[in-house]
């Protein structure tokens, strides 16, 4: 080839019908696949799903005769919804009317804030959920029967709050482990869902930062 790329570009579009815009159909209803839009849609459905689940949990547990546990779990689920609503609003504030670098960085920061926020929330959510279920179970007829059986079998068992001490220690250890690992579990879950998106973002930002350093 003898032409420069600038010449090819200029000459290529002089008499070209290929620059005619394609037909666009029903744009308003088109399902967007932009990362930000995808998140908005996903968030909306996630929150609706959590609200439905919270109502179902309350209804089912009330029907089973344990309304307080139902109310507690529903309240915790609603705290996830409140957090989600907050994130939804902050996502809408992302501005595309900035440089590519700023746009990608702002979206990346939003993702990091989202993960940090939810990781903290889940650190309390999972232990609280576990403890509430265990506590409720402790005072059921079956729970009481199990404890009575253990006490009869091992009469020397040290008791605390009318419960074998080793059970309390076990529950405490599991709660602490849930506290420390819930965040990690959430991040793993997040990465498994959005790994492709995160990788793409990371590559773009890294390329952009290299460009800024040159």
């Amino acid at each position: 080839m003898s032409h420069s790329i600038e010449d090819i570009w200029k000459e290529g579009f002089i008499n070209d019908n290929a620059l005619v815009a394609p037909k666009i159909n029903d744009l308003y209803n088109q399902k967007s696949k932009n990362i930000v839009d995808k998140f908005e849609v996903l968030f909306k459905w996630n929150l609706i799903g959590i609200v439905i689940f919270a109502v179902l949990v309350l209804a089912v547990l009330s029907f089973k005769g344990i309304p307080y546990l139902g109310m507690f779990i529903s309240a915790m689920l609603m705290s996830l919804v409140i957090r989600g609503r907050k994130e939804q609003k902050s996502l809408k504030l992302l501005d595309k009317n900035v440089s590519s670098y700023q746009y990608l960085k702002s979206f990346d920061q939003w993702m990091k804030d989202l993960m940090d926020g939810y990781a903290k929330l889940y650190s309390f959510f999972y232990p609280a959920l576990f403890l509430s279920i265990v506590l409720q179970f402790r005072f059921t007829e079956i729970g009481q029967k199990i404890i009575n059986g253990l006490v009869n079998k091992f009469p020397d068992t040290t008791m605390m709050l009318s419960t074998p001490l080793y059970m309390l220690i076990g529950v405490s250890v599991i709660s602490i482990l849930l506290y420390y690992f819930s965040g990690t579990l959430y991040r793993l879950d997040f990465n498994s869902l959005y790994g492709r998106m995160l990788k793409k973002l990371e590559e773009l930002i890294s390329d952009m930062e290299e460009l800024r350093k040159e």
């Binding site: 032409h3 790329i5 666009i24 308003y28 932009n34 990362i35 501005d95 440089s99 590519s100 773009l204």
Partner: protein, 163 residues
């Protein structure tokens, strides 16, 4: 989207959007999806246009941001290894314009990283280094160096010997 808005504010700048979208897609179906997505985002973001820049510059900026974050058929957008000659399938896929040479140039541009594609398109559209730096979010000196490197790479792919 109102057809009036599309006709009055987007269609006159369709060439910009087409040129950018072509660089991020390998086939007609993906191209039309990207084009629609850019138009949709322009319409959605129109209230954020602050008239600090030209409408056309704003369209460049928004089109690039949308193309960089669009997820449609990502496999087609995977970066290709640099080779001395264009792979046959790329040449075949990129026959989008009447001129064979521009198709080959686009085929070569598609082998660049996503950021480099944006930089070279803006350069070929005769945007100043300052405008490119502003749109991409870099500084003017770095853009000059990067363009030189991209051009060398494109020349190598297209087998162009610059005088």
């Amino acid at each position: 989207m109102g057809s009036d808005f599309y006709t009055a504010f987007i269609l006159p700048h369709a060439a910009i959007i087409i040129k950018i979208c072509r660089a991020y897609t390998n086939n007609q179906e993906d191209f039309e999806d990207y084009y629609q997505e850019v138009c949709l985002q322009i319409w959605r973001s129109k209230d954020r246009f602050k008239k600090q820049s030209e409408w056309s510059t704003w369209i460049y900026k928004l089109s690039l941001n949308v193309c960089l974050t669009y997820l449609k058929k990502a496999k087609n957008n995977q970066q290709h290894f640099v080779s001395d000659s264009l792979p046959a399938e790329l040449i075949e896929d990129s026959k989008n314009f009447g001129e064979q040479s521009i198709n080959q140039l686009y085929g070569a541009i598609r082998q660049l990283s996503e950021i480099d594609r944006g930089v070279i398109l803006l350069y070929l559209e005769e945007k100043s280094y300052q405008e490119i730096a502003e749109i991409i979010g870099s500084n003017t000196n770095n853009i000059g160096v990067r363009i030189k490197r991209i051009k060398d790479r494109l020349n190598k792919i297209l087998n162009i010997k610059e005088s």
